[in-house]
């Protein structure tokens, strides 16, 4: 692979509890993996309070780490730090047999189309001789044009249909809308969580499968993914890629802070 960039990343998530909690169990999907367009080197996970970590791979192929902090604590902080060597403009070969692409071909909880999306697809879903890639690229651009980026009007429970009805949302919503449309067009597509150069939060975009390859498309930024993108996980929609899942005993309320720094070496 031709290295385009060498990016240093630091993904830091901290939780604060108003009252100490205990028996805190967690599963974290925040560790990037190497593939055809990114090599991850020197990746370290640091936890505060420290605890033994175990690793698993879920059925989507995402790596996750999990553990438990038994004793009472009022703060929990994870830091994932490393270097990614990324290539721009390269698609990842799809090694999954066609049958198993099925979960990415049909509507999921967040991407089920209602009247608004169906009507929109009616207007934009005719292909003028375009292949899957060109068609998806056009949708990618169309969504960017027709949506307004606005924070605070949607939340993690908002579906593609809800966000589209209001024409406003954030990257999660843009990605869900893109997925809903691609799947209506029978193009296998998946939700991606990752980091991009400079930004302070995690980012979401999509990958579409065409000609046995996965192509990254980012409707929020009206572009194809390039060397500034570091991918962390993928799934049918937001739900499959939740970064932090946790349960604990305690009555306190939880606050979360995330900071991501990605810079070129």
């Amino acid at each position: 692979m031709q290295i385009d960039r060498t990016l240093r990343f630091c993904y830091r998530m901290s939780l604060g509890f108003s009252e100490p909690v205990q028996k805190h169990q967690f599963a974290l999907r925040m560790i990037p993996q190497s593939d055809m367009r990114q090599q991850i080197v020197d990746c370290k996970v640091v936890l505060e309070p420290a605890c033994a970590l175990k690793e698993g791979v879920d059925s989507f192929g995402n790596r996750y780490v999990y553990g438990e902090i038994v004793h009472p604590h009022s703060a929990f902080c994870v830091e994932v730090r490393g270097t990614a060597r990324t290539a721009g403009g390269i698609a990842v070969l799809c090694e999954i047999p066609v049958m198993s692409l099925a979960p990415y071909r049909f509507a999921s909880q967040y991407t089920r189309a209602g009247d608004a999306l169906k009507a929109y697809y009616g207007q934009n879903g005719q292909r003028a001789g375009e292949d899957d890639y060109a068609f998806a690229a056009r949708l990618n651009h169309q969504i960017y044009q027709d949506m307004v980026y606005k924070q605070g009007v949607t939340d993690i429970h908002t579906t593609a249909e809800e966000a589209f009805s209001d024409r406003r949302g954030v990257c999660q919503d843009y990605a869900h809308i893109m997925l809903a449309l691609c799947r209506m067009a029978d193009i296998p597509s998946r939700y991606v969580v990752g980091m991009i150069e400079g930004e302070g939060y995690s980012h979401a975009w999509v990958e579409i499968c065409a000609d046995q390859r996965w192509y990254g498309m980012d409707p929020t930024n009206d572009k194809m993914t390039d060397g500034t993108y570091i991918k962390i996980s993928h799934g049918r929609d937001y739900q499959d890629c939740i970064v932090n899942r946790g349960t604990f005993r305690g009555t306190g309320t939880q606050t979360q802070q995330v900071s991501i720094v990605v810079s070129e070496e």
Partner: protein, 361 residues
Amino acid sequence: MKDKVIPEDFIFASSGYMPECEGVSPVRGVYSHISGIDLVKGKDGEWYILEDNLRVPSGASYPMIARDLCRRSSPKTFRDNLLEDNRNYAQLLRKTMDYVNVEGHTVILTPGRYNAAYFEHSYLAEKTGAHLVNGNELLVENDMLYYVDYKGKKERVGAVYRRISDEYLDPMHFNPESVIGIPHVFDVYRKGKLALLNAIGNGIADDKEIYYFVPKMVKYYLGEEPVLSNAPTYLPFYETDMAYVLAHFDNLVLKDVAEAGGYGVVFGSSMTKAQKADFIALLKREPRRFIAQEVIDFQDLEIQDNGIVVERKADLRAFVLMADEPYVWKSGLTRFSRNPDSFIVNSSQGGGFKDTWVLSR
């Protein structure tokens, strides 16, 4: 699916489909340890299958209780008639659980005492000698599931008869907001170190749309005609079926595939003209949302209503347990509707139940 008997999207777009289970095989290959098959007897004398329940079918405890009470209150009936004894359900269930148990205790997992089926959970635990537990009494450590006793000693658990649905089982993999599940239990299950009864992901088979395909599956896999018939069912998804549904609307019952427990069921004949027009518009807009069935004129069953014998609609849930081989419990849950004009027998809708006798030969 490969041979196009069932369209792919009926599986993958089903709300019961769980991609997390791709590549996971349950212990000893058993998926549906306890199945509840709902049957009705038509006025034509034929038995029809109304529904297959392969997730966590409930109700087996009621016939156990009913039999106990009937034998006490009417000993003569049981002296004079040759009836199959149904008081072996607990042993059958125990055998089913033991067959898949991976070296450990057997527990019944309940969402708690305020669940509508709590009586059944605790009764089955008592009768099978299993421990009744809440999610917070179990914990996962080093890819094993443990039950912690009051001295803090950990006892390994090898089988969980779980009476909570898939999405609440493990907040680390499914619904992250579940407080009744066991964090990481799916990791243990996936590695084959724990049996869950029934397996995760059976919701696909429970789907009202898949029901339509069950006779086709029987023919495909066995090359035989099914012994028991389905109620004639139509999927408006198929054009020919849609045409039939529109032409025979008044003779059909329409069921919303997303609903359960007797909800989302409407009869074509009971709608006003305006309601019918609205419903047909909805059906055309969302043909995938509904199935249509012929209304089976089931045989009425005599029941006692405040001491008076009256006739009501009834159905029978047969229980099939799967250990080394399938076994049909020689009894079942007979449910009846409370109101004379109702077809709905679900207890959540006011239905009642009675003892079910299978005559010995």
